[in-house]
Symmetry: C2
Subunit: 520 residues, 2 copies
């Protein structure tokens, strides 16, 4: 069957497909007209060959040239903003404004421009020079990067536009983007804009390539191929761990951002102090974007007592009153129902929701579940089932000790937050719980919801397994996110004219270098 073209080796061409698929409009449940190919290994092979050649060409390319490409791409995104927003809205049901047009699009172009600045300054290289031994080291590009984007941020985490793409390119790596199957049309538009920008700025043909879908086995073959440097994956735990197993066995770095329940602890004093405000704050964070954020607060830890019960009553009321948004796809809806079933069967009480929501299309009522600390501790693994969407599980601990025991059983998470009273009345409880939470999460918050993920050099959008595959790296925040797609390269007694410019004695740039034990 005729299908949309793939972008391979610098041209839009017919896929050597093994099948086709369509995306659907989640607001109506209806299939969209375009047919997208499922790529065979032949498509991947061609893309790998071209990426390998592009990588050789990008070696020694100036950061200035890479920056020019990223900036041109950002401009092209702005020029095609209306079209991108319309397509993404159709494929994801995310609101055009403010979400897509006014929040996610500028975030995306901002990331690309930050990545361009980092490419230009080469700050990510972290040059270290030991003149006495004439040994010099810096980070360098790792090789072609495969990017698998998630369903929930079609722009800012998109495989041909988002943070992984920007970080991989900034370090001088070509990208092979695999579209998310829920928004292939959006990804295609980004790949068009990226490709046009690459042509206009004289980048190699294989700098950006894009396919829509493969079988699982071909996906695994792709990330383990000799020509691949590394992979970035954001998405569901099941698919991500299958790719991780394959990549690990081949010794290929893979950076994953998987599920996370993002525990939030409201200590009693904080609830006494401003329980109503916190109920509103929590509800807003949990239902924002129909709860479809990696950092959605999916687990609330409370300590029994009047303030906790009043808080629960307050959030139930708010969840019941708030409109239920449209979910990203029918599969997200099914998966959310399935998580509710699992949690209920394990003993969680339904406080509100779990049924059909009052919104359009793929929709589930705003849901709150509740379980005692003791019940949580009887089956902590099941109780940490992620319910991706407008849903959260309240864990009511009978004591501070039980709350600590619950935290000890938590898996790795992206974030963890503690709300405590301003008068110091929660400090003892805080000091008991914080050390446990700190080693379980990448980002620790105080008195703040986790859903905002600022593109800041101090951001850590990462955390211990299984939130990600490695706790030393972040997917958001430049220049740190670039390090995922680099390798450490030492130069020992290498002749001066053969060194990367940033390691030479006559380096004229302004980036800080660690020379003979001192920053210069």
């Amino acid at each position: 069957m005729a299908s949309e073209p793939v972008l391979i080796a610098g041209s839009w061409r017919e896929s050597e497909q093994t099948g086709v698929f369509q995306s659907a409009n989640p607001a109506t449940g209806k299939l969209l007209p375009a047919h997208y190919p499922v790529s065979s290994w032949a498509d991947c092979e061609a893309a790998l060959a071209s990426a390998h050649a592009a990588f050789e060409e990008m070696r020694g390319m100036s950061g200035e040239k890479i920056a020019a490409f990223l900036e041109r791409f950002a401009t092209k995104i702005e020029e095609r903003a209306e079209e991108l927003v319309a397509m993404a809205h159709l494929e994801t049901a995310l609101p055009k404004s403010p979400r897509l047009a006014d929040a996610e699009l500028p975030r995306t172009t901002g990331q690309l421009r930050q990545a361009a600045a980092a490419a230009r300054s080469e700050v990510w290289r972290q040059p270290v020079i030991d003149r006495a031994n004439n040994i010099r080291a810096c980070f360098g590009a790792i090789g072609p990067v495969c990017v698998f984007g998630p369903n929930n941020f079609p722009f800012a985490f998109g495989s041909a536009s988002g943070g992984d793409f920007a970080a991989a390119i900034a370090a001088g790596n070509p990208v092979i983007a695999k579209a998310n199957s829920s928004h292939p049309g959006t990804t295609k538009l980004f790949a068009e804009a990226a490709h046009d920008a690459a042509v206009e700025t004289g980048m190699p043909a294989g700098t950006i390539q894009m396919i829509y879908r493969t079988s699982h086995s071909i996906g695994e073959q792709l990330v383990t191929d000799d020509r691949v440097g590394a992979t970035g994956y954001t998405g569901s735990r099941g698919a991500g761990l299958a790719l991780k197993r394959a990549a690990d066995a081949a010794g290929k770095p893979i950076y994953l951002e998987l599920s996370s329940v993002n525990p939030v602890i409201f200590l009693p004093g904080a609830l006494l102090e401003k329980g109503e405000d916190l109920a509103a704050e929590f509800t807003g964070s949990c239902l924002m974007g129909t709860g479809q954020f990696c950092t959605n607060p999916g687990l609330v830890l409370l300590i029994e007592g009047k303030p906790a019960e009043a808080f629960v009553a307050g959030i139930v009321k708010r969840f019941e009153e708030a409109p239920a948004g449209t979910l990203l796809s029918e599969s997200v809806r099914k998966s959310l129902h399935e998580s509710h079933r699992i949690l209920s069967e394990a003993g969680a009480e339904v406080l509100c929701g779990t049924g059909p929501g009052n919104g359009a299309g793929c929709c589930v009522a705003n849901t709150l579940l509740r379980v005692s600390g003791a019940a949580f501790l009887r089956d902590p693994e099941t109780m940490q089932t992620e319910a991706f969407g407008n849903s959260s599980l309240i864990v009511m601990a009978s004591s501070l000790n039980e709350a600590a025991a619950v935290l000890e059983k938590l898996e790795g998470n992206l974030t963890g937050a503690i709300y405590s009273a301003s008068d110091g009345s929660d400090d003892e409880a805080h000091d008991r719980l914080e050390p446990i939470l700190r080693r379980k999460v990448g980002r620790l918050l105080n008195d703040k919801m986790p859903t905002g993920v600022a593109v800041s050099p101090a951001m850590n959008h990462g955390g211990p397994y299984p939130a990600t595959g490695h706790p030393g790296f972040t997917a958001v925040g430049i220049p740190a996110s670039i390090l995922r797609f680099t390798m450490l390269q030492s130069y020992d007694n290498v002749r001066a004219h053969r060194l990367p410019a940033i390691l030479r004695d006559d380096y004229a740039g302004t980036t800080q270098r660690f020379i003979d034990g001192r920053w210069a």
Copy 2:
């Protein structure tokens, strides 16, 4: 059977053993008298519980206190130098002087003192502060670290004394050391000195613990335990990859330093210019320490012609004339023979050696093998079989193109070296080969042998898989080596007094911080 005690939870105690073993003197082949226990899971469980408690105590501990421990330990090593050197000589047959007493021992104490300085300055934390968003990030300790040391550096890479130990402790992690079975007595002496230093400087009981051996399955259980933060392993590929599979499946970071053949390319112009000198230089590097270095030059790539043939004749003569040293153990001897058998059967010609050597005890004659580029390319995997010891494989390429094809087939290595003429006559060949070599190795050398591994901040003792498990990290060089045993920790809106000191506005230290996009 009575056996030597293990160090668990702050005391030397009887192992709950499943068996015992003895080490042997490789110079005589005779077993040494002491019996060492093979630990059951009960030993590991006790060590993990104590390490977990120690980690909690070390949280928030000042870098100054950790530094004092590391420095006291270095002093204790110096005080017990004679005893350490004697025991290591007995167990490894490495020369007492200069190797053990004058090279490896000062390297070891130097590393510990460098690690102490890094602990004190906290430079490894890499603090990043975004005041506008009030988000702050730095690296923090990852949790108890298991260290598996190799046979070839009983001091500098020893599990209770070497680079992994120093790096893990510097970041605030307790260490569970697994002795190398070829030098358990040496490891025990280091653990005694470390434990005494820990007691004297008031460190928690579980800061340093030591066992001698476990079964493979218990070793795998150890590195995947919830309470473990990460593992450092240096040793053979087979055992290392088994641990990697287990750790990967559990999402536990593991840093491995495995086999490496360390290709050295001598281009024709360099050989014409000073072939005799290079033959002497190569021979010295390849036979140093009976070739038992991770960075031993085990693969020599030449391009056919008179200079190459003269070079080969020169090194064969030197290999035949040089005394053959004693290998580290009978198993090293067997493994070297086995590698020679595999390479010969795959078509490598024996130029010299492979038979019994003229040295004492475990000994193999200095060996050179030779294969054509075409034969190498017919079975590149087999031809890269590491022959750990006083041995190297010469690959004679028929052309520059064939040399490039050989490099394309190389696995990841720790190092790669290129010798080229000073008059520019090799430059074209260099420029063709260097880009291929660069992405295969962690450290690239010019006109220098790879066997010296300076403890320098610019060192990369690492490289792409299968030389290591991740190309972004180094096992040698402080502060970079410390990063292996850390996690990235972001603090979002966290109250000022709860922040690590290095992230506070009132930080009084001198370490560079990246504040609001600028180094301060």
